[in-house]
Amino acid sequence: MHSRSRKALPIKKIDTFNQTKEVQMPAIHWRFGAVSAALAIAALTSSGALAQKKYDTGATDTEIKIGNIMPYSGPASAYGVIGKTEQAYFNKINAEGGINGRKITFISYDDGYSPPKTVEQARKLVESDEVLFIFNPLGTPPNSAIQKYMNSKKVPQLFVATGATKWNDPKEFPWTMGWQPNYQSETQIYAKYILKNKPDARIAVLYQNDDYGKDYLKGLKDGLGAKAASMIVMEESYEVSEPTIDSHIVKLKSTGADVFMNITTPKFAAQAIKKNAEIEWKPLHFLNNVSASIGSVIMPAGFAASQDIISSAYLKDTSDPQWKNDAGMKAFDEFLTKYFPEGNRVDASVMYGYTVAQGLVHVLKACGDDLTRENVMKQAASIKDLELGGLLPGIKVNTSATDFAPISQVQLERFTGKSWVLFGEILNGDVGG
């Protein structure tokens, strides 16, 4: 009996914390009574015995509750596999004994990539399911929609699954943190490469007409600086709803450009590479990391057509033969066979979900017995040189109180033969938010 009440107490105590902001509620609110009672009890018992273990809503001696929001339905449903991979990875962690003896409860909801629904689901997770934090919600518009709410509630919005640049803003939004290298820094790296190796380039850009495409384009222009206006000879955009982008490629070729910046999602990237070969346009071809997958882009487009394309990467490509005997890749394959047999190995999203879940497990282990929201953010902001099995050799996760961009390193790669060949140094492309 005694030990039982001890277990229950800290949660209630924190409940009172969360309520402090809403103390000005009408007296009829029935939770008010419970809250003040909890306050009294908490005050009585907050002695040394409980000092070691600290919990916020969502964490106990046996459980850590984590919320997640994914587009399992709707236009971006292809990314839903990330949530499924994460679930599978946490199953693995739980089967192996959990984190410091605590099992992970992973509650993942569908928002259909619709921001109003994201807000509803986030509120459900925080206020009804009472999770400790929300992990890896996907998409720029959905995350933008909940950012203000999460920060006003002081609930971590951890490792968001979007490459937009604005997530690295610890001053304004101390409860929101990104994960992957952002889009702008990637094109900035290409811009640096172009300025150095092809200073008189005439660049043709093809980009998807949405936040992702525009972010990339901005990075390119910023990277080229004053020369952007003279170097970029054409900016052509396409809509996701278009069946084919062939006509855009023909148009871009007609400009006589000798550099092609290909900012497209996988289906269109494959089309672009194929069309380039067909009409024999052979510029220096930069392909964004989003579409650098051998399995879903290069193979459909054909190896011959893909030679010498330059891209950048931070994750190992699961369909690249060079990682066949790599220890990290072997662990990944083991995980897939045992816990996620239905997962498509070639799908880059699976590797993504696997890696980000590993990153989270690292943070939670570092939290120890202090599972408060504040400590989760503190530990997430003090990752030092963390290496994960899915990251390219040499790429490390680093954060600090002023740097909320965990992965900011990438390496350039050139497609040669049947796989990507990494070249040059590991590049750092931090862009502040």
Partner: protein, 338 residues
């Protein structure tokens, strides 16, 4: 000649609903009102937020109900009006610093004008053709909002973050609670306006057009005027709902107002009962809560489960909540007699 034949033989698109049957009795209305006033005091803030969304989508469904149930015109483009309303409110609040309450009538007026203008060319169309024309409007809207020319105001693809208002006069209420009662007040006002509209001369004109356009014009109803007017009123109310939605969700982005929203609203109207105004709230509850239930049953097949549930509703109660209400009324009547 053939035109007359067509109209005469063609089954009316929307079943004729007598105007009394479009609303609730006084007693029931008061019970509903009491429920809406008291429930938020007893539940968590999250539920209060869901109830706010219930009222907001309820308004949007009500607007469609006036158009379809009242004047017999279809629209799959309500999401476009909703988006215009939401953006109007958001832009006025964030760029011009206008008080949130004042942005709603402005959103309403702008959407009324937009709907009225759209109603002009739509006059030549009817039935499925009109539905398709409005469908085009709904698909075009998210892309229009992304256009570079407006980006300075709309925030482009990134959308706009809206500040949630605090309760005024230092009322001891959380933001959610205040917004709920604010929305409730707006909803009640619009509901009363709609009921009176349908009972008025204009309402009778709407219904005459719905039942038989030729007969209506023979009676001296200006068909063109009233059809566009119905579009305008419907768009105006949808715009107010959109404005409220932007304030409640605190964010507007093109992805929030896709064709899916338009179809949801249409669905809500059918489930609630076409032409039965109180059914709008039931329909709105359906589109908010049933997807959550479906997701609870199966995550991977949530869409399929939703489809099955929807099919069951349409199959068992083809006239939606109205049918349920009528059956319930008859049961109560029988009990009283016994």
């Amino acid at each position: 000649m053939s035109a007359v034949d067509e109209v005469v033989t063609e089954a009316p698109a929307v079943e004729a609903v007598p105007k009394r049957a479009m609303t609730l009795g006084y007693g029931t209305s008061l019970v509903m009102l009491a429920l809406f006033l008291i429930v938020p005091l007893l539940v968590k803030n999250f539920i209060v937020f869901q109830l706010t969304m219930l009222l907001i989508y309820g308004l949007a469904v009500l607007a469609l109900n006036i158009l379809t149930g009242g004047s017999g015109q279809f629209s799959l483009g309500q999401s476009a009006f909703y988006a215009v309303g939401a953006y109007t409110s958001a832009i006025l609040m964030e760029h011009a610093g206008v008080n949130y309450a004042l942005t709603l009538p402005i959103a309403g007026v702008i959407c009324f004008a937009f709907g009225f203008l759209f109603g002009q060319p739509a006059l030549r169309l009817s039935g499925v053709y009109l539905a398709l024309a409005t469908f085009a409007l709904a698909t075009a809207m998210p892309q229009l909002l992304k256009l570079g020319y407006f980006e300075h105001w709309t925030g482009g693809v990134q959308g706009l973050v809206v500040t949630k208002p605090d309760a005024p006069f230092g009322l001891p209420m959380s933001q959610d609670m205040w917004l709920y009662y604010f929305t409730l007040a707006v909803t009640i006002a619009i509901y009363i306006f709609s009921v009176n509209l349908l009972r008025s001369r204009s309402g009778r004109a709407f219904m005459a057009i719905r039942d038989n356009e030729i007969a209506a014009s023979a009676m001296g109803v200006d068909v063109a005027l009233y059809k566009t007017l119905a579009f305008g009123v419907s768009a105006g109310i949808t715009g107010v709902a959109g404005g409220l939605g932007a304030i409640a969700v605190q964010f507007v982005a093109p992805d929030s107002y896709t064709i899916t929203l338009a179809i949801s609203l249409f669905l809500g109207m059918v489930v609630g009962g076409v032409g039965w105004l109180p059914g709008s709230i039931v329909g709105s509850a359906f589109i908010i809560f049933v997807p959550n239930i479906a997701e609870g049953i199966s995550k991977g097949l949530s869409g399929a489960v939703f489809g099955v549930l929807l099919f069951l509703v349409i199959f068992l109660v083809p006239h939606g909540a109205r049918q349920v209400a009528i059956v319930a009324q008859q049961l109560v009547g029988k009990l009283k007699k016994n």
